[in-house]
C-alpha cells in the first residue's frame, strides 16, 4: 500500500526536478498522454476483453446494493482489523462517521436538490452541543450564576455539565436540525448556486464563531477548543476506557464506538429510506426536478425544504456529538469548509439521491482519504481532480438511484439540450 502511494507521488512529481514549472510541464504531458490513451482505446477494445471488468463491476454493484451483504461486511470488518493489530480501527470509525454525514447530506443535496456547501456547520453544532454539556468547559461560566448551584447539585460533584449521551444525542441532533431551519428560512427563495454560496457562508461563520467565542466570555474556548470531553458511558460501561474486557480479549475504545455508529447508521439508513419512499420523499423529488411545478401541484415547498434541512441537520448533528465523544476534544479547525466538500464529494461519487450510493461513496472516498494521511495536500489535489472527473464522466455516481439514472438517460437524447457539434455533418 505505502509503496503504491510512493509510486503515485513520484509519478505525479515527475523526473524533471522540484521547480514548480518542471512539475507542471510533466503533469501536462502526463494528462495529455492519458487523454490520448483514452481517446485511442475508447471503442476499440473488444467487448470480450473488458467482460471480466464489467462482470466484476456488476458483482460489486450487486453486493453493495444488498444491505445484508453490506451489514455483514460492516460487522466483520473490525474483527479482521483486530487480527491485523487494530490500528486501522480509528480510521474505519472515522469513515463510519462520514457515512452518517453523507447519508444526511444526501437528503439535502440528493433528494431535494439543494446544494449545501455548509453541511459541516451541522456537524460542528452537534459536536459543540455534546462538547459543552459533557465536559468541564462551562464550569467557569455557570459557577457565576445561581443556576450553578442547582445544576451542580443535580449533576453531581464534577465541575461543569456531564449530561449523558442518551440525552445529548437527540439534543445535539435537534439543535443541528433547528440550526438547519434557521439557515433555511432566509434562503428559501434562493436559486441553486446562490444557495450554495450562502450555505458556505453560514458554514464558515459557524466556524469563525467557534474560534472566537472565548471572548468576552469564554464559551467555546476559542482556537484551543473544548477539552476533556466525556466518553460515552452507558451504565457502568465506559466506551472510552481501555480496561474493558470480553473474556480474555481486551476491547479497544474504538471498537465500542465502531459498533455504536454502525447501529446508528442502520437506524439512519432505515429512517431515511422510509422517508425517501414516503409522500415527503416524493415531494422532495418533485422540488428537485421542478420547484415551480411542485408548488403548482400543491406541495408546500417551504415546509418541505425546511424539513430537508432539518433532517439533514439532525443526522449531521448526531454524527458531531459522537465525534466529540470519541475524540475527547474538539477544535474549530476540525470544522473547515473542506469537511463539507469531502462529504459532498462522497455523495456525488456514490450517486446523488441514492442511499446505497451515499454509503458506498463515503466508504470509497473516505478510505482513499483517511488511509493516506501521509499525502498531506496531495490527497486534496487528487480529490479536486476526482470531483471534476466524476461530475463530467459519471454524473450519476457509482451506484445511482434508479430514478436518477432514468432521468439522465432521457436528457441524453433531448436534442434541445444537446448542442449541434461543430464540424462536418454526420
Amino acid at each position: 500500500m505505502s509503496s503504491f502511494i510512493d509510486a503515485l507521488v513520484a509519478l505525479l512529481h515527475g523526473p524533471f526536478g522540484n521547480h514548480p514549472f518542471a512539475v507542471l510541464a510533466w503533469q501536462v504531458l502526463l494528462a495529455g498522454a492519458a487523454y490520448l490513451m483514452v481517446r485511442l482505446v475508447r471503442g476499440r477494445v473488444p467487448r470480450q476483453a473488458t467482460a471480466p471488468l464489467r462482470l466484476a463491476g456488476k458483482g460489486a454493484s450487486v453486493v453493495l446494493r444488498n444491505r445484508y451483504a453490506l451489514l455483514l461486511i460492516g460487522l466483520l470488518l473490525p474483527l479482521v482489523e483486530l487480527l491485523t493489530g487494530g490500528y486501522l480501527l480509528s480510521v474505519t470509525y472515522s469513515i463510519e462517521l462520514y457515512v452518517l454525514l453523507a447519508v444526511g447530506l444526501n437528503i439535502v443535496v440528493g433528494f431535494t436538490g439543494l446544494l449545501d456547501l455548509g453541511y459541516v456547520a451541522f456537524f460542528a453544532v452537534g459536536a459543540y452541543v455534546y462538547g459543552l454539556f459533557a465536559s468541564p468547559q462551562l464550569y467557569e461560566i455557570t459557577k457565576q450564576t445561581t443556576y450553578f448551584l442547582v445544576a451542580q447539585s443535580a449533576l453531581g460533584p464534577e465541575p461543569g455539565f456531564h449530561i449523558s449521551m442518551l440525552v445529548l444525542l437527540p439534543v445535539a441532533g435537534a439543535a443541528a436540525a433547528l440550526f438547519g431551519v434557521l439557515i433555511g428560512i432566509p434562503t428559501l427563495r434562493l436559486r441553486g448556486d446562490y444557495l450554495a454560496i450562502v450555505t458556505l457562508g453560514f458554514g464558515e461563520i459557524t466556524r469563525i464563531f467557534a474560534n472566537n467565542l472565548d471572548q468576552p466570555i469564554n464559551i467555546t474556548n476559542g482556537p484551543n477548543g473544548v477539552i476533556n470531553i466525556d466518553p460515552i458511558t452507558i451504565g457502568n460501561y465506559s466506551f472510552g476506557s481501555p480496561q474493558n474486557h470480553l473474556g480474555p480479549f481486551q476491547i479497544p475504545p474504538f471498537l465500542n464506538y465502531y459498533y455504536l455508529v454502525l447501529l446508528l447508521i442502520l437506524l439512519t439508513v432505515f429512517i431515511v429510506s422510509r422517508l425517501e419512499h414516503s409522500r415527503v420523499g416524493r415531494a422532495w423529488a418533485a422540488i428537485r426536478e421542478d420547484e415551480t411545478a411542485a408548488q403548482v401541484a400543491g406541495i408546500n415547498t417551504r415546509n418541505l425544504k425546511l424539513l430537508a434541512y432539518a433532517s439533514g441537520g439532525f443526522f449531521g448533528g448526531m454524527a458531531g456529538a459522537i465525534y466529540a465523544a470519541g475524540q475527547h476534544l474538539i477544535a474549530p479547525d476540525s470544522f473547515q469548509l473542506f469537511v463539507s466538500i469531502l462529504v459532498l464529494c462522497m455523495v456525488v461519487a456514490g450517486g446523488m439521491g441514492s442511499i446505497p450510493g451515499a454509503v458506498v461513496g463515503a466508504i470509497v472516498i473516505g478510505a482513499l482519504y483517511f488511509f493516506t494521511p501521509q499525502l498531506l495536500y496531495l490527497r486534496i489535489l487528487v480529490f479536486g481532480a476526482l470531483l471534476v472527473l466524476l461530475i463530467i464522466v459519471r454524473p450519476q455516481g457509482f451506484l445511482p438511484s434508479a430514478q436518477r439514472e432514468r432521468e439522465l438517460e432521457e436528457t441524453d437524447e433531448d436534442p434541445s439540450l444537446v448542442a449541434p457539434a461543430p464540424g462536418p455533418a454526420p
Binding site: 437524447e413 433531448d414 436534442p415 448542442a419 449541434p420 457539434a421 461543430p422 455533418a425
Partner: protein, 244 residues
C-alpha cells in the same frame, strides 16, 4: 456561386427531417423546398412543429434524421453561427432582442458576422428607411420599445446579416391588426428586394395571401402543399385553419 437555383430548382432543400424532444417526436419526416426569390409559408396549429422546423434549419436543434441542403451545400447539424454565415437567418419567435442594448447595438449584433463596415452602415440606413420608427429610437434600449417596434427591430436586425433566405417565426404574434398589416407589407417589400423568405405563421389567411407557396404542417408531418392561392381555396385548409 452555384446556379442550381436560377433554373428554379431548390435554393433550400429539406428532406425527411426527424426531430425529437427526448422521447417525444416533434417532426416525422418533414420535406420541403424553397426556390430563390420565393415567399414560402409554413402554417399549422399550435404544436404542429412549425417552430421546431425553422429552429432545426437555423441550427439550434439537431435532427435525428434527414438532410438540409442550402444553396447546394449541406448544413445538417451545423452550428447556428455557421449557418448564419452562409446566409440563412432566423428571426425567432418572441423576437428575442437584446433588451439591454440600444436599437443601434441590436442592429450591429445582426451584422455580427460581417466585416465590411461601409456595407453595414449602408444596410443600417436601408433598415432605417424601411422602419423610420427605429431611426427615431436608435439610442433607446430595445427592452423599452413597444411590441410593434420590437418586431420591426427583430426583422431589421435579421436583415443586417444580409440573409439570402430569411426565416420569420410568427412575426405577427401579439401585434395589433393594423401593425400586422404593416408587417406583412414589409415582408413583401423585403422579398421584392431579392430575399427569399420562409414564413411561419398561425395567421394562415394573411400568410397565404403574401406567400407564393405554402406547406401545412400537422403533428410533425406535411399534410398539404400548394400555391398560396390553392391552399386558400382548399376546403380542408379552409375548414381547419381559416375558420370557414
Amino acid at each position: 456561386m452555384s446556379d442550381s437555383s436560377s433554373d428554379g430548382s431548390a435554393f433550400l432543400e429539406v428532406t425527411g427531417l426527424e426531430v425529437a424532444y427526448g422521447k417525444i417526436v416533434a417532426l416525422r419526416g418533414v420535406s420541403l423546398n424553397i426556390s430563390r426569390g420565393e415567399i414560402v409559408t409554413l402554417i399549422g396549429a399550435n404544436g404542429a412543429g412549425k417552430s421546431t422546423t425553422v429552429r432545426t434549419l437555423a441550427g439550434l436543434m439537431r435532427p435525428l434524421k434527414g438532410r438540409v441542403v442550402f444553396d447546394g451545400k449541406e448544413t445538417t447539424g451545423r452550428p447556428a453561427e455557421a449557418i448564419v454565415r452562409r446566409g440563412l437567418c432566423l428571426a425567432p419567435e418572441g423576437r428575442r432582442l437584446f433588451p439591454r442594448m440600444s436599437v443601434h447595438e441590436n442592429l450591429l449584433m445582426g451584422a455580427y458576422t460581417r466585416r465590411d463596415r461601409d456595407g453595414v452602415r449602408a444596410d443600417m440606413e436601408r433598415g432605417f428607411t424601411l422602419f423610420p420608427r427605429l431611426k427615431e429610437r436608435s439610442t433607446q434600449l430595445a427592452g423599452t420599445l413597444s411590441g410593434g417596434e420590437q418586431q420591426m427591430l427583430a426583422i431589421a436586425r435579421a436583415l443586417m446579416s444580409r440573409p439570402r433566405l430569411l426565416m420569420l417565426d410568427e412575426p405577427s404574434l401579439g401585434l395589433a391588426p393594423i401593425l400586422v398589416e404593416t408587417i406583412f407589407a414589409i415582408i413583401r417589400d423585403i422579398n421584392k428586394q431579392g430575399t427569399s423568405i420562409l414564413l411561419v405563421e398561425q395567421n394562415a389567411r394573411q400568410a397565404l395571401q403574401v406567400a407564393h407557396r405554402g406547406y401545412v404542417l400537422e403533428t410533425g408531418e406535411i399534410v398539404h402543399t400548394g400555391t398560396g392561392k390553392e391552399l386558400l381555396e382548399s376546403a380542408e385548409v379552409q375548414k381547419a385553419y381559416l375558420g370557414m
